[in-house]
Every structure is written in structure tokens, then in C-alpha cells.
Subunit: 202 residues, 2 copies
């Protein structure tokens, strides 16, 4: 192992190889470890083992990096929801519940990243890559809701309702956990807040 990697390891340290990717990963790690305020260009650079001026060659300032990380977050988010769905039964109701579980699980395990993806004042939500990644996530949820659409009026209404429910539940749970004390939000099972899925079944 030592021998086989030595050639790579001996490679001149001046070029990183894939610094762009390393900076994204560093950013995600910093978010997880130190929260939103912990994510700065200088710290990302340090974590990637590179001088603090290096990121300028790869991202359009801090906002550019934040936007890229948010887009990456949406990719991971989408993957997790799909993974959960594929592990569930074929029943549409079970599939939607699995997607919802994936949604909440991502939000819970990636609090600061999730907040960056949905409510940062520095992320450029008009960025086309971010928009594309975010649309894919939305599509997974929309597909899961499709069997439950009822009537032309409620076509978008159903997924918006479920999405709002999940986004709100995730945010409020987060706050409840931060407040520390027993909170009405605690111990409510997912099924209890997905109202009457069987009623929605067309």
C-alpha cells in the first residue's frame, strides 16, 4: 500500500489535484462541526491544507462557495430521499412515508447545511446549478406525492402541503431540541403529522 501510493504522495505538493472538491468537503465538515459562522473561506482553505488565498482560483468569493455547497447539499439530500424510497415497500403510501423519513433524517443530521440550503441570506438562489439541484430534490417529493393528488385544484397543493409540513416540522424540531426542555414538538411520530394520507388516496 505504501509503495503503490508513494508515487502519488511524492507528487509535487504545489498542485492539489482537486482543490475545488476538497474545499466543498471542508465547507460541509465545518458547517457540521462549527455551524454557519464556522464556514469561512480561510477556514476551508486551512482544512484543505492550502493557503488562504487559494480558494480565489476556484470560487467567486465566499458567496460563490456557499452557493456551491448549498447545491451539493441538495444532491446529498436527493440521494438520501431516493435511497429511503428504494428501501421501502412498493405501496405508494409507504414510499411517500419513506421519502418523508429521508427528508427529516437529512434535516436532522445536517442542521447547518440544511439551513444553508433553505434560508441563508448569502446563498445565491438564482444560481442555475443550485436551481437544478434543488429542483431534483423537489421532484423526488413531487413524484412521491403524485399518487395522492386529488382533483385538478389540489394538483400542486398536495406536494406543497407535504413539503411545508416537513420543512416546518424539521425547523421546529430543531428549535425544540436547541431549547433543550420538553417541548410539544417532541415525540410526535411522523405519521401523526402526515394527515390522513389514506384520505388523500385517490
Amino acid at each position: 500500500m505504501e509503495n503503490s501510493t508513494s508515487q502519488t504522495a511524492r507528487k509535487a505538493p504545489h498542485h492539489h489535484g482537486d482543490l475545488r472538491e476538497a474545499l466543498i468537503q471542508a465547507g460541509i465538515a465545518l458547517l457540521a462541526e462549527h455551524g454557519t459562522a464556522g464556514l469561512t473561506l480561510r477556514r476551508c482553505a486551512a482544512r484543505a491544507g492550502v493557503s488562504h488565498a487559494a480558494p480565489a482560483h476556484h470560487f467567486d468569493g465566499l458567496d460563490g462557495l456557499l452557493t456551491t455547497i448549498a447545491a451539493r447539499g441538495f444532491c446529498l439530500f436527493t440521494e438520501l430521499m431516493i435511497e429511503e424510497r428504494e428501501q421501502s415497500a412498493c405501496d405508494p403510501r409507504q414510499q411517500l412515508l419513506a421519502i418523508c423519513r429521508g427528508y427529516l433524517s437529512f434535516a436532522e443530521n445536517n442542521r447547518s447545511l440544511y439551513n444553508l440550503m433553505f434560508s441563508s441570506e448569502r446563498v445565491n438562489y438564482c444560481d442555475s446549478h443550485l436551481d437544478e439541484a434543488s429542483s431534483k430534490a423537489y421532484q423526488v417529493l413531487a413524484d412521491g406525492c403524485a399518487p395522492f393528488r386529488h382533483g385538478p385544484d389540489g394538483a400542486a397543493g398536495t406536494e406543497i402541503m407535504i413539503w411545508s409540513l416537513l420543512h416546518g416540522f424539521a425547523g421546529l424540531s430543531q428549535k425544540a431540541r436547541q431549547a433543550g426542555h420538553r417541548h410539544p414538538m417532541a415525540d410526535i411520530p411522523l405519521e401523526a403529522i402526515i394527515p390522513h394520507l389514506e384520505l388523500l388516496d385517490s
Copy 2:
């Protein structure tokens, strides 16, 4: 008028009178005008017309001010929901819808303050004043939901569901507006996302 206030105006400028309150108001204004990043101790002090070291006599650092402002936000939030409710018909369904309208209207018109209240990493959500203010807001919503509780299991479930729905809808609308383009979130009426209130009617 000039004469009647001159005595006050002539008062020595060394003492502010109610700097604590002025700093809170300055903070709320800065949030509205410059977003989360615009709210700093120094800027609050400047806006209150006082040296930047003055706030130290009134708040326990920036986090203390943020926490106090969040608490104040919950007071305004509660007032607005109550106001909306009192202007509506006596019908429980109309009253709940009025509360929801108040909720969303506050979130929409006080974006950064709302975010501070619900998802800041610097606010101390364990603070007792904040907890009290936030509980009052929760109580308004819970009271509005009370007529719609069905069964012992769904006792808390109903208000959690409505609350999540509102919090999520508010957050996602915010992001949709930020993204600028046409979004599935746009033009969904409140009634469409409050699912089957008539079904919940006991």
C-alpha cells in the same frame, strides 16, 4: 409644542432615558433593513445615537441583545395573531384561519426577525423571558386549534401539524421569493394548505 418639550430636549445628553428599549428598536430596524448580518452591537449603538461601548451596560454581549430582540419579536408576533383573530368572525374555523393569516403575515413582513426568533445559532433559546414570550405565541395557535382536536392521540398532533405547516410554508415562500423565478410555492392560497379543516371539525 416646542416649549413643552424643550425641557426634555434640554435635558443633559449624557443620559439617554431608555437606551435599552432604543437598542431593541434599533436592532429590529437593522434586521429589517440589512438582514441578519446587519445586526451588530456597534450598529445598534450608532442607530440609538450612543457610543458603541454603551450597550455593554444593558445587555450581556451580542447574544444577550439577540435573545432579547427575539423575545420582543415573539411579543409582536403574538399581538398580530390575536389582532387578526379578534377581527374575524366567531366561527372557530374562521378564527383559526385568521390566526394563520396573522402568522404568515408576520413571517412575511419580518423575515429576518422571524428567522432570528426561530433559527438563529446565537440566540439562547433557554432564556426564560424568551421562553415565556414564545410560549404565549404558541398558546394562541394552540387555542385556535383546540376546537379541531380529534381523539386523545391527536390532541397535540393537530396544533403541531398546523404549526409545522405554517412554519414550513413561511420558510419555503421566503426562499421562493428569494429565488425570484416562478416557483411551485407561488399563488397557493392559505386554504389549500390547511388540509380538510372541516374534516378535523369534531
